[in-house]
Amino acid sequence: MPNKSLARPKMRTFADVLFVVLVVSLSFAPFIQVRGWDGYDSGTFVYQDETCYIRYSDETIGVDKPHIFSREGWPIKSLVDIVELSDRQSFVNGLNLYEDFESRGRLTDDGLTIFYSGSPQFTKSITVTDEGVVVRYESDQPMELRLTLWRWYFSSVEGNDYRGAPLPLKVEPKETLNFQFMDEGRTHGGVIRLSDQPLSVEVCRDLNGLNKIIIDYVGSHLSIKIALDDASRSPLKIADRDLLYPLLSMVFGLAYLWVRKYEVLVKIRLNRTRH
């Protein structure tokens, strides 16, 4: 029985084009921006919406818990690193959150909740509201909490760059802390709102600038709300995914179609010359 279908040039071309369209379409998948929380089997969780991107437990290092970014730029958004809460630099009753506790993350209706096993038992939950990202620490008993917020680098904290100031760089403990930082030549302002007045607040610096804000607190419940002063909420922006995937797929697709076309021509010519 003669081969009527795919052997036919038109059918073959149609199949080729369909395949290329499929491959190219799939390469745009990373551009689809789904609002909300998601996770990976490595234990990493991510949140994203139009203006905010949060990563909990980076796949390779696993210490940024969470790392908060803002989405800026148009039409391609890039991530602006705001601040990172590090478990490696945070302590409960003198015990390091990264080294001395086992933790596991679980997605709930409100957001992400991290359960720390050990004593005292406590949880950390991360939720996103219209006003910013809220990180809440809760324990079944009062605890001495030391939290560290990282950034390379803060331009200033509470309007002070602490240049030449004597160590330690103490900040007046209060419920609201303002900070500024530079990103791609642009100055951004952020605010940290605490649910309670902390015991003390200290700023640390290395040779290049201010890189840490350390908050000491005693109690069984503390929430920290972190937000940018000037976060824009334009829904028109597209995600900041790399364009390399669609570019690669399109180049491959076109090359494939070109080769296939050429291939068919060669075959026909060969047959005709021979016979």
Binding site: M1, N3, V34, D38, N271
Partner: protein
């Protein structure tokens, strides 16, 4: 010496030399874990199902524990060799290959790796024999093929066994239908050759007796499955569901999706991928049956379609196709370069050499340094490189699917047909449009 024997010995020798020193710790660990549990009388599948449940319970994500999710025939193949290992080292035989930092006892690990890979190596030897008997050049190609060597002797994955069973099933399909069915049943130790089931069925349908024979053979090979379905259906089905429902992954055109937001999103894409895969498979099966393509071409095409369109296709899957595909003159041998490359940017080659590097602290530090340097050098680009390789494979494989359709001369216009009939000399001397 006969050429087939020479090739068998060459193939066997190389594999035996490499096997003790390399492994994919997680995959070898899966076989080790399952064999140990099986010999201890534990329910292998229940363990996997429970681990999956715990993982899901603790994260609220549709995660799967990557454990033993193969048909139970696999256990009968590997467990005897693990038992042999425990007999040789009755006391100090403890292995923990699935730990973050695997503890490798020396020199036991070398014996263990050699023994646990022995069924795969013997399978390869059988393939070399079967191929060499038909076409010595192909037998030699298979014996020395770096990709096959990598999967069998270095990685330690048992897809080449699937390849052997498929090849053997194909070879005796026409003459010994019961055996063919039995061998096909064995090939389902990894579930993906199920894509060939409609083809086998359709090709047997014309003769009810032959169909019964094939089904009888298949049922005999599936007795362990039937046993688990009766005795422990929940754990078995839960564990097997993993293969059908896991999120897009591997060396395929869906690779870009892996850089998307997370597992929930990937699960949604997987549903679409599954629909695409099923549609293509149905269409292609219909086409190969309608066109009455040769059995070999049809099998290669369907397996290639699996490699292109299935949501999860890993580097080792092509090894299941290689023995059959090499028999086909139309198979593009360049295809096996890509999974070999992909592994370098996925697991990384150095990962396979842990049994060598884990000997002492100095070598271990060297491993860390080398691995770190590799990740530093290509880490930022590795996903793009993997995508590049995946696309290269997908397009080349798709082209190869086309090539497996026999190109025939298009039907001539009626006017010319009339002329052709009127000129018997021209018609009889007309060239065939058979392509290589």
């Amino acid at each position: 010496m006969r050429s087939w024997l020479k090739y068998v010995l060459i193939g066997l020798g190389i594999r035996l030399i490499l096997a003790p020193f390399f492994m994919h710790a997680w995959d070898i660990g899966t076989v080790w874990e399952a064999s140990r549990q099986f010999l201890n009388g534990e329910d292998v599948y229940r363990y996997v199902a429970e681990r999956t449940y715990l993982l899901r319970q603790s994260t609220s994500l549709p995660l799967y524990y990557h454990g033993f999710a193969y048909l139970p025939q696999t256990l009968f193949i590997f467990a005897p060799f693990y038992r042999l290992y425990t007999l040789i080292f009755p006391v100090e035989n403890s292995l923990d290959l699935r730990a973050l930092e695997p503890a490798l006892p020396y020199p036991q690990i070398y014996v263990f790796l050699l023994l646990i890979k022995m069924p795969i190596i013997l399978g390869d030897v059988a393939v070399i024999y079967l191929l060499s008997k038909r076409e010595p050049e192909i037998g030699l190609f298979y014996a020395l093929n770096p990709y096959v060597l990598f999967i069998t002797a270095v990685w330690g994955n048992f897809d080449p066994l699937v390849g052997l069973f498929l090849l053997a099933s194909y070879l005796c399909f026409n003459e010994r239908r019961v055996l063919s069915g039995f061998l096909y049943g064995l090939s389902l130790i990894k579930i993906y050759p199920i894509v060939l089931f409609p083809l086998f069925m359709a090709r047997s349908l014309s003769n009810r007796r032959e169909l019964t024979k094939f089904m009888l053979g298949l049922s005999m090979a599936s007795l362990p499955v039937i046993y688990y379905l009766i005795v422990a259906p929940y754990g078995f089905l839960e564990a097997m569901l993993f293969q059908g429902a896991r999120q897009v992954y591997g060396m395929n055109m869906y690779h870009a999706v892996l850089s998307a937001q997370g597992i929930l999103f990937q699960t949604a894409i997987t549903r679409i991928a599954t629909i695409i895969f099923a549609s293509v498979l149905l269409f292609l099966t219909y086409m190969v049956l309608r066109e009455r393509l040769p059995m070999l071409n049809s099998m290669v095409m369907l397996m290639l379609a699996y490699m292109i369109f299935a949501p999860v296709t890993n580097e080792q899957h092509l090894a299941a196709l290689m023995p059959l595909a090499l028999l086909s003159q139309r198979f593009d041998r360049k295809l096996c370069i890509f999974p070999l490359l992909f592994a370098a940017f996925n697991a990384t080659y150095i990962y396979f050499a842990t049994p060598i590097f884990w000997i002492d602290v100095t070598l271990r530090n060297l491993y860390v340094a080398l691995h770190g340097a590799w990740v530093e050098a290509i880490g930022a680009y590795s996903s793009y490189v993997r995508y590049f390789i995946s696309l290269s494979f997908a397009f080349l494989a798709f082209r190869n699917v086309h090539n497996h359709f026999q190109l025939q001369m298009p039907a001539l216009d009626k006017r010319f047909q009339a002329i052709r009939t009127a000129l018997p000399t021209a018609a009889s001397g007309s060239p065939s449009y058979k392509t290589g």
